[in-house]
């Protein structure tokens, strides 16, 4: 009898820990979702690759790796070094002026003529035309 009692106690004890473990997993999942949604609200979302053409996707990769460090909105308390680039800036300055700036740079920016091909520069411009950062600010 004593043995049975012990076994029943162990069984209940283990079931409880299993259930608690599962619940903790769920609550931490909820916590993660909360954190994720809070972070997403703090930053400017870039268009998902799913909504981009092949050229724009290639442009996004180049832009994120080589340009974004100066040309995307900075985090709070930081300042973007260059102008924040998007479709509004491209429409305002014109495709050709943007291409020329990427190629030859300025006093504050290096020119990418020895690194990026004309096709890659076109891809970056195509991607920028798809960005709508100014409208959301």
């Amino acid at each position: 009898m004593k043995l049975m009692k012990t076994l029943v106690l162990i069984f209940y004890g283990l079931s409880f820990t299993t259930l608690t473990g599962a619940q903790t997993g769920e609550s931490s999942k909820k916590e993660e979702t909360k954190v994720a949604s809070r972070s997403a609200a703090d930053v400017v979302p870039l268009p998902s690759i799913k909504s981009l053409t092949t050229a724009q996707t290639a442009g996004k990769k180049l832009f994120v790796q080589r340009c974004s460090v100066c040309h995307l909105p900075a985090l709070p308390s930081y300042t973007a070094y260059g102008p924040v680039l998007d479709s509004v800036v491209v429409a305002d300055r014109g495709d050709e002026a943007i291409r020329d700036r990427i190629l030859h740079g300025s006093a504050r920016m290096p020119g990418f003529q020895y690194t990026l091909s004309p096709t890659e520069i076109d891809q970056i411009v195509e991607y920028l035309k798809h960005l709508a950062l100014s409208k959301k600010e």
């Binding site: 043995l3 069984f11 283990l14 870039l46 900075a74 308390s77 504050r108 290096p110 020119g111």
Partner: protein
């Protein structure tokens, strides 16, 4: 509680714990789970060892990678059925990509042929970039160390050296970099170290990553062989829809 009772309780406890993982793990762990395997060869038909072969479900966030053995063969662990994006890559070669449909049972075979490419700078890792920097003469070693201390404490060498700029371009970058502190905060008083070495750094970077032919000796590291090629890597990709800054 008697000794026998204690032993019995312990046996039940251990058997319960042994069964526990199966409560949460997917039940489908039998020999019927789909398998993916194949070979990777060079353009001349020779087997290629240590090539990374990766597979990710289409639309999924988990990528599994394995390496080919000395016969160029690769095997993935048993996985779930579905549509997979599979690619084989090695530094110095163009990556080969295919979509593979794995049904819920049976095996799929996917062979790859890799073609060598001359334009593979973007595939290089930071240690490969650093070992490519000239260091035969004492002055080369000194400048390499100045570059390492000034630039790679914040940036990876692959990031810092990814672009070729002329002298004016490197000057513009150094002018910016000397005012950024170790936390990435701009508008600080000029860094005395970068300020001191600025001219030399500009000349060095223009020489190794400038418009003229470079003294860099780019040599990809050997691919993994033997036991090192038996590793299975699982990556959990974080969707990059948000501002990377």
């Amino acid at each position: 509680m008697s000794r026998i009772e204690l032993s019995l309780a312990l046996v039940i406890l251990l058997s319960f714990l042994a069964c526990r993982p199966s409560l949460s793990a997917p039940a489908d762990n039998s020999s019927a789970t789909p398998m993916l395997a194949g070979t990777v060869r060079g353009a001349g038909g020779e087997p290629m060892e240590g090539v990374t072969v990766s597979a990710a479900t289409v639309g999924g966030t988990i990528t599994t990678s394995v390496y080919t053995d000395d016969q160029g063969r690769y095997y993935f662990p048993a996985t779930h059925g579905g549509k997979y994006r599979v690619w084989a890559q090695a530094v110095g070669y163009q990556a080969a990509r295919v979509d593979v449909e794995l049904n819920s049972k049976g095996k799929a075979r996917q062979d790859f042929t890799l073609t060598a490419t001359r334009d593979f700078e973007r595939q290089l890792t930071s240690p490969e970039w650093l070992s490519a920097l000239p260091d035969e003469k004492p002055d080369d070693v000194r400048l390499k160390l100045i570059f390492v201390h000034s630039c790679t404490t914040c940036h990876s060498a692959a990031f810092a050296l990814q672009n070729k700029f002329d002298e004016a371009g490197w000057k513009a970058i150094l002018a910016r970099m000397e005012t950024i502190n170790v936390y990435g905060k701009a508008g600080e008083p000029p860094s005395p170290v970068i300020q001191h070495y600025k001219e030399e750094l500009v000349a060095y970077l223009t020489s190794v990553r400038g418009p003229e032919p470079s003294p860099l000796k780019i040599k990809p590291f050997p691919r993994p062989t033997g036991d090192a090629a038996r590793v299975v890597v699982t990556e959990f990709n974080i969707p990059s829809a948000a501002n990377p800054n």
